[in-house]
């Protein structure tokens, strides 16, 4: 892979959504950032800050109202395997077995049969699902389903792996275990990862850099580099301080947002 094939650039991206009543809403305003090759990049923020909108734009499910998104210099215009997505609710095909799910993208790429089988086998092993190849998704636990989903996305060898709160639906033990395993996979087979989460602890545990977003209008407020050696110890004073900083900052944001809303509402009532 050439050095910048999986570099992501987001330039001055704004997105307008429409409310049920047809009122235009600014979901994103002037978002700009770059993600380096093989970087683990997280996007955190409270709900309503536009992080899912941003992921939809990166995946190509939606088009920006203004601005441009590129991967390896190429403009994102539609969804495709170069930006494979791992969803919070797994989105596995219930009518396919574990092996068939992982193979889905390989069939679409029309790879030779033998190669498809070899790749499926590799990723089944990588995510620890050997012996479960012929099971249907409904027979698996949440953690196992998410592993299938990760294997399915990695199997197509995307330039960027997009992950939309992938562990939010899992219980806390499984979540922490999956975070560890995702890190191991990423260290073994480096890849540009854009990871959406609302958990600061999760973002700091995993990422090289974190974009912190704020709502109304959705925007990237700050990008922080996390310089600690992996695996990161959550009790390390530096990590503790960083987590506390970010949390305090986000709380301040939430407070300001609520304060603004109250004031607006009060102004509306007196007018």
């Amino acid at each position: 892979m050439s050095s910048n094939e999986s570099q992501v650039s987001v330039e001055n991206v704004s997105k307008v959504h429409f409310s049920m009543t047809g009122e235009p809403l600014l979901a994103l305003l002037d978002v700009t950032f770059c993600v380096e090759d093989n970087e683990f990049f997280s996007i955190v923020g409270p709900s309503g800050c536009g992080k899912t909108t941003l992921l939809n734009l990166l995946a190509g499910f939606e088009q920006p109202t203004r601005g441009e998104l590129r991967v390896g210099g190429e403009l994102i215009t539609e969804p495709g395997w170069k930006r494979a997505v791992v969803f919070q609710e797994y989105a596995l095909f219930p009518w396919y077995t574990v092996a068939q799910n992982i193979r889905y993208g390989l069939r679409r790429k029309r790879l030779p049969e033998a190669e498809q089988r070899r790749i499926v086998d590799h990723y089944v092993g990588l995510v620890g699902l050997r012996g479960f190849e012929q099971r249907y998704p409904r027979e698996l636990s949440g953690g196992m389903r998410q592993r299938v989903s990760i294997a399915r996305a990695l199997a197509v060898n995307p330039s960027v792996l997009l992950m939309d709160e992938p562990f939010a639906a899992l219980d806390i033990q499984t979540r922490e275990y999956m975070q560890d395993e995702l890190l191991k996979i990423w260290q073994r087979e480096p890849k540009t990862v854009i990871f959406i989460t609302h958990s600061i602890d999760e973002a700091i545990k995993l990422s090289d850099r974190i974009a912190i977003m704020a709502p109304r209008p959705g925007r990237v407020e700050e990008i922080k580099r996390v310089d600690f050696e992996r695996p990161r110890d959550p009790t390390d004073p530096g990590v503790v301080r960083l987590i506390a900083d970010v949390k305090r900052w986000l709380r301040q944001q939430a407070f300001t947002a609520e304060h603004d809303e109250r004031r607006e509402r009060a102004a509306g009532e007196t007018a």
Binding site: A59, G60, F61, E78, P79, G80, W81, R83, A84, V85, F87, E89, A91, L92, F93, P94, W95, Y96, Y104, G105, R108, K109, G125, L126, V127, G128, L129, R130, G131, F132, R135, Y136, R138, E139, L140, S141, G143, M144, R147, R152, A153, V156, L162, Q173, T174, Y177, E181, K184, I185, R188
Partner: protein, 318 residues
């Protein structure tokens, strides 16, 4: 029992649990359940099944299960017995009961009588043929139309007014015209049944395609599926359970339309048989026709459900 397997059994139900506690110590080697834990897990999988089997009583023998399934028919049996008794002893109170409600035994002898004359099978097969032809045609046309309407809102908005205009017209209202068009015969009746079965099949296919999980569509697209591949690998399988429901409803309504069609104008069939018996005052033949339609409907629905089970092992909807 060795400690390893008992720990796994205690920690998880069946094969659906994560191997997470077991894999934790083997850090660094292989991501997700490393070699050691993986082997451990694979071995205990068989152990778990054996252990689970030893904890529950053995399943009853096949004849026992068959018997218990049969015993669930007691209400049906009680119903037939009650019918027999009322018809037999009721005629002492009301002598007309013989004609108004012949007993099940009379229905059986009517069947034997007609079968001996060689007409019973013809009636059954003619009706069956008409229903299957009509519902088959309704499926072939209705499923693609419904899927197309469910998938493309624009296509739906164009076709919907036409469909919703024709749909409220009862199939039976078409009979005079269809006799005019097709004459008295198979084609005319097939057409009436087709009209009756077509709409539930279209509407169910439409709902199935429209309600496909948006995340599955996105997953397909982000894995490189073209629109055509998406339709074949996501929309169609997602809609399949609902398509089957539509065909089952279509079959049920088809039988209703069949009898109505054959009552009015037909050279043969169970509806014709019932109507003919009416003019001959043979209420045992009428009851026989009704019982046969019920039994055929039940058998076809059972076949459809088995087909559902076989074609969709992943789907466990009841």
């Amino acid at each position: 029992m060795n400690p390893a397997s008992s720990r796994v059994v205690a920690g998880s139900g069946g094969g659906t649990a994560d191997a997470l506690p077991a894999a934790a110590p083997s850090r660094g080697a292989q991501p997700f359940a490393s070699g050691e834990a993986q082997r451990n897990h694979a071995v205990t999988q068989a152990d778990m099944t054996a252990l689970a089997a030893s904890m529950v009583p053995p399943p009853p023998p096949a004849w026992r299960r068959a018997l218990s399934r049969l015993s669930r028919l007691w209400l049906l049996v009680a119903f037939v017995v009650a019918w027999q008794l009322i018809s037999m002893y009721g005629s002492a109170v009301n002598p007309q009961l013989d004609v108004m409600m012949p007993p099940p035994t009379a229905v059986v002898s009517a069947a034997a009588d007609l079968a001996a004359r060689g007409v019973l099978l013809t009636h059954i097969l003619d009706s069956l043929k008409r229903v299957l032809l009509a519902v088959g045609a309704a499926t072939l046309l209705g499923v693609p139309l419904g899927l197309g309407m469910g998938w493309s809102p624009r296509f739906r908005s164009v076709v919907d007014p036409v469909l919703e205009f024709i749909r409220p017209i009862p199939p039976l209202a078409w009979i005079p015209l269809s006799i005019l068009w097709f004459g008295i015969g198979d084609l005319q009746i097939v057409y009436i049944i087709f009209l009756a079965a077509f709409f539930p099949i279209v509407l169910n296919s439409l709902a199935g395609a429209r309600d496909v999980d948006a995340y599955l569509v996105r997953a397909g697209l982000s894995l490189g599926a073209s629109q055509r591949e998406l339709f074949a690998t996501v929309v169609l399988p997602a809609a399949l359970p609902q398509i089957f429901t539509g065909v089952r409803i279509g079959l049920g309504i088809g039988w209703m339309a069949l009898v109505a069609g054959e009552l009015v104008a037909a050279p043969s069939g169970l509806g014709y048989m019932i109507n003919n018996a009416r003019t001959l005052f043979r209420s045992d033949y009428i009851l026989l026709g009704m019982v046969l339609i019920g039994a055929l409907g039940l058998a076809l629905d059972f076949a459809m459900r088995e087909l559902t089970r076989l074609t969709m092992p992943w789907y466990h909807g009841k």
